[in-house]
Structures are given as structure tokens and as C-alpha cells.
Symmetry: C2
Subunit: 365 residues, 2 copies
């Protein structure tokens, strides 16, 4: 990190911490213009709804007919699995404020094996980042990427080339760095000391895992790119696998994405693209705790760190927020669900304000 | 239908038509208390979020390990498909108003092969019934039932017993009574004359189809029952396959469901339950147009009509709103997406007001 960037970043952090000292509610009240004018905790919503974007028609033929009873009491129905279907679309849900205070909406892009539910309530029932950024004055778009959640999924191996895989609780516990050991054979699962994840809600959290495929990235990227063309200029906050789609989306539409916040990015564009085309797009990487706990994570962060180095060498800005280095300990991979999720969101929000508002980002050519 | 019921229903329809004459916006404005105090079209939202309910842990063992590259640039990872998973849960999203004008929330339950997206924006981008009933002053819960959307789905045949099936565009076109013929071999697809479905948006609509299973009804019912215990007393508006879950939910919790609106119900409890236990729960069946167009639909409506007859014989009230019999023509199975969706919603809303408000429903024992 260049010294000048580090100084700016520290100053911004001090500002953020000042906000946090008084609590987020007071911090927003202090602005004198709450998003929810109707009450301290409410929102003035202009509209909410959803749409589908991306995707294309595919055709199946030659598959045998089946017989199905749709609902109890109904007669059996012959179902012909052949025909035309849509595949490759994504689902997007928006909430627009009556009086947004920020110029650009925030797009929240989930990680692998997850859906937009990531950003709604936390598994233990607190308001999630969707609500946080609405209250911070942004219009917010939450999406389900191709193959998951309300985006639906397509038959395999006829349309998707491979079969999906399902994340077990053990894998999630370790991969999401809730703790070092899931136990088993009578042993209790073990969390990292001081874990910020709401441990009692882990089983509820695992209800939102969705199957994933390793072969749909091109369709997913195309759908994200179409979303960017439809609703941006915007800020993208992307988690884990979602970050790579965000980096690539910016490369595909350098004038549309005004900032990227990558929460624990895994993966990055791997064919050495020219990153000077997005050097005007400020980026922030946010990292939780215990990254050194496994060879797996030490390997995972290599690609995004190489990407960051290349972006900086191309003249870009990629700030780093390692939470433990700043005295915030115990965060898992699921930063937006951790017990201090509002604290982390406030740091991200402060970075966005500092980065985008006082000195507007240079317009793209 | 008993004569007295018919008279009440006609009176209510007249009231509803009087409201409609002035348009829905004027009708709500006339109440002097809009849900969206901040502006004519806005909403004062107290909170929005989501949760998962139902489901249980399942365990898989003995399946072979696979190797996966999660994100481009990452190293291959060994994936063990064995372990513990959650299955049978559903996803629920809520929007609560700062100042609800109605006593009970509305729960919107989608039909088969669909998700809660049914109730958000229509496929051609108009506000859907979620927004309508929020503006009408209800808190609204939109859910994705077990196996679809953000509820996720489980591996088969190890957890779900069968494979899913996927609805083709042709099947949807005919089953949802958009039109009599999907064409093919160069022929154009043909809509019913005067179809209310937004035909240009049919392909976009088909992006929200999700695979369905015929073997998960018990888990789905259990999750709906758990939802009712958590958030009711309430009103349930259920579509198609969802109506049977609503009828059964009322039988399981007669004190919790204050009214059921069944939009083109398909299927009904088929083992002759004692319907006198829910005789205090008023019900409304709503039917679109062209039901006589196919033997399939003539068969489909038999079970709900038998159920209605039994409910009436047990002392209950099951009003019927056949839209074409009341001069509203061209509605498809997807009433909440049709071009006159607000008109149909206003009729439902008027029925609820008439049924629940002036003479509150008798309390359950």
C-alpha cells in the first residue's frame, strides 16, 4: 500500500470510529436527514419490486415423458420434459427510497452457494446490510445470481454441463472460518476464540445454503454485466465468489461501476487483463480474522492479492481493511452476519463516503 | 351458495366496484390514511427482513469425494459430499409498515413451480400484490416454499426421493391459460382473445419458473404450519397449489388463520377432514377466464369444488368470485400478473375488508 493511501485510509478510519463511538443510530441522526423520515427506525420507501435479467432460451428434445400428480386429489398428469426453457437469468430485487441521500445505488452481490438472503436479516434476526445501506441513504439492489435462489436453475447435464454440489455444515463451519473444528464422533463443534459469528444461529444459517455448479461462471458474468448496464452507475459490494464477478463487471463497464467493496474476495480475473482501464474505480478489500488458520485460506487469498498488486501497478487504488489489524477481532468469512456486522458496515459506509463524496471519482472517458 | 351469502357477496361487489370506479389511488386516498405517508406512492416501512423456518438436519454418508475449482484462479479443492445438511426449510420475507391499518398481516403463498417472486413486480414491471397489500395497509409476508427459490433444495434421490421436473414454456402457456396453443413448427403461439396476461412479458415470466418435486408436500406443509404458528393470526392469500397448503394449515391451526383467499386453487384436502373446525374461517375462491377451455382444467377444479361443498355443509363460508361471471374477462391462471392485477387485488381487498372488519370473525374456541 502506498504511504499516501495509508494515511488517507487511517484518517477515514478515525472518522468512522468517531461515528461508531456514538452508535450508528446517533451517527445517522447527526446528519439531520434520516432515510426513514417517518420514524427513527423506519424507511420512506418509494418502491420495491424485482425483475429478471440475462438468460436465453434453450431447447430440450428426445427426453421420455413422465407421469406426475401435481397436488393431492388431482388426477395424474403426463409431463413432457422436452420443450423450450429459459436458462442463465438472474433475479434482482430492489428497494428505492423516497429521498436517497447518495448519488448511486448499492448492489449487493452474494458469494458462492448462497443467495441474496445473505444481505437481509442476519441468521440471528438482526437487520442485515440491505437495511443498513438503505438507512445510510442508498437505494439497494439485492440479487440471486444464475443457478441459485429465485434465479432458478436448469436441468443437468442437458443444460448445465455438470451436477451441482451441496455444502455440508462441516464444510461451511471450516470454510467460512466459524471455527477450526466441526467435531463429530461425539465431539462438539469448536468456534474460534472470540468468534463474532452468531454461533447459536449457525444451523439456521445453513438453511440458506444452495447447491452450486462450477460450470456456470460465463452465464453468471453475462447476467451481472446486463444488470450493470441496466441499473448503474452504482457501487458494488460483493462477497467472496461474488467479488470476481464484480472485478470483471468493472472491466466490462469501466464507466458504470463507481466503486467496488470486495468482502473477503476469493478469485480474481486470471488472464492478466489491462487494469489501467479501471484505475479510476476505487476498490476496498475487507478481511476478517483467522485467515492464517488454514492452508486453504492462505491459498485462497493469493489470486485477489495478485490482482490488487496489478491494479495498483496500473495506477489504481485498492485499499485494504484487515479488521484484526485495526483491532476488530473474531470476524468470520460471513462479515455481514457476524455480531458486529453493523460495525463492519459502518466502516465500509465511511470508506464509500470518503472515497466517493468529497472528491467525486473522475468520470470515465 | 346459500341465498343470504349471495346477497352479502353482491353487496360487497357493488362496494368494490364503487371503489374501482374512482380508481384504486382515489379509493385509498379517500380513506384519509395512506400507508405511505411520505408521498402518494411511497410506503412508511418499519422493518424488512427475512428468516427461515421449518426443516431439520439430514445426514449423508458413503458418497465419493469430488474435485472442484470454486472460482477462476483458485486451486482445485476436494469436496466431500457427505455430512450434515438442512432440508425441508422454507424462506420468508417480511415488510412491516410503520402504521399498518389492518389488524392482521397478509401471507402470500405462491403456486407450484414458482416462488415468492410471483407477488413482487409483474413480469412487465408493474407493482405486484406485495406492493398492493402493503399500500392497502397490511404487513406482508412473502415466502418461498420448501424446494424452491431461496428456500433451497436438497440432493436427490438421497434426501428428496425423486427427481424434479421443469416446466416448459409450452406447458406454462397452456396450463396457466395464457392461450390455447403454443404453436411450434413455425406457428406463432396463440393467446386467448382478450387475454389479460402481459403477453410480451411471457418469456421474462418463464425466467421465474423453478423445478418442482411431487414428493415434498409433507415437508412443505410442516414448514407452512410452522410459519403460521410464528407470525399469525393472519390472512392467507394462496395461489394454485399453494391453496391446498392454506386449507390444510387452517385445519391444523383453526385459531390462527382469519381468512383464506384461494386464487384458482388446485387440489384440496382429500381425506374428508372435519371442516366444521374451520367453519369460522371465511374463504374466497377467485377464478379467471377460460376454465372450460380444456379437460385438464375441468378436472383440476373438481377437488376444490368438492372441498367447498363440504365446507359449506359443515357450516362454513366459501364465497366464489368468478371474474368472467362478473364481467371481467380474459384473466389467466396468473391473476396477480395479469394486466388488470390491481383490479383483481382490489376485489380481494374489498372482500377482506367486508369480511373481516365490520363484523370481526368469531374468535376460535
Amino acid at each position: 500500500m502506498k504511504p499516501r493511501l495509508r494515511i488517507r485510509w487511517i484518517g477515514m478510519l478515525i472518522a468512522a470510529c468517531a461515528l461508531l463511538t456514538g452508535g450508528y443510530a446517533q451517527a445517522t441522526a447527526a446528519t439531520g436527514e434520516q432515510a426513514g423520515g417517518a420514524g427513527r427506525d423506519g424507511l420512506d420507501v418509494a418502491s420495491m419490486g424485482s425483475f429478471y435479467i440475462g438468460g436465453h432460451q434453450v431447447e430440450l428434445s428426445g427426453l421420455p415423458t413422465r407421469t406426475i400428480v401435481f397436488s393431492p386429489g388431482e388426477k395424474p398428469t403426463k409431463v413432457n420434459p422436452n420443450g423450450t426453457f429459459e436458462a442463465g437469468q438472474m433475479y434482482v430485487q430492489y428497494v428505492k427510497l423516497e429521498h436517497p441521500r447518495e448519488r448511486w445505488p448499492v448492489l449487493l452481490w452474494h458469494g458462492g452457494g448462497l443467495t441474496g438472503a445473505t444481505w437481509e436479516s442476519t441468521p440471528d434476526g438482526r437487520p442485515g446490510w440491505q437495511m443498513f445501506f438503505l438507512k445510510a441513504g442508498y437505494d439497494v439492489y439485492v440479487s440471486d445470481a444464475v443457478e441459485r435462489g429465485r434465479a432458478s436453475w436448469a436441468r443437468y447435464p442437458e443444460i448445465y454441463r455438470t451436477e451441482p454440489f451441496f455444502r455440508s455444515k462441516r464444510e461451511a463451519w471450516q470454510l467460512f472460518r466459524i471455527g477450526p473444528s466441526y467435531g463429530g464422533e461425539g465431539a462438539e463443534r469448536k468456534a474460534f476464540p472470540g468468534s463474532q459469528f452468531p454461533l447459536d444461529a449457525f444451523d439456521d444459517f445453513s438453511k440458506q445454503f444452495v447447491p452450486r455448479w462450477a460450470t456456470n461462471d460465463a452465464w453468471t458474468q453475462a447476467a451481472y454485466d446486463a444488470l450493470v448496464q441496466r441499473v448503474c452507475p452504482c457501487v458494488v459490494i460483493a462477497h467472496s465468489q461474488g467479488a470476481n464477478f464484480a472485478f470483471t463487471a468493472a472491466l466490462h463497464a469501466p464507466d458504470k461501476i463507481k466503486a467496488i467493496v470486495a468482502l473477503e474476495p476469493t478469485g480474481a480475473p486470471d488472464d492478466a487483463p489491462d487494469l489501467s482501464t479501471i484505475k479510476h474505480v476505487p476498490q476496498l478489500f475487507v478481511w476478517g480474522d483467522n485467515l492464517d488458520s488454514s492452508p486453504f485460506w492462505r491459498g485462497l487469498i493469493e489470486a485477489p492479492l495478485r490482482y490488487r498488486q496489478a491494479a495498483i501497478e496500473a495506477g489504481g487504488t485498492v485499499d485494504m481493511l484487515s479488521l484484526p489489524e485495526h483491532g476488530i477481532h473474531g470476524n468470520s468469512h460471513m462479515l455481514m452476519m457476524d455480531r458486529n456486522s453493523d460495525e463492519v458496515a459502518a466502516l465500509v459506509s465511511a470508506w464509500l463516503t470518503k472515497t466517493l463524496d468529497p472528491q467525486p471519482v473522475a468520470k470515465a472517458p
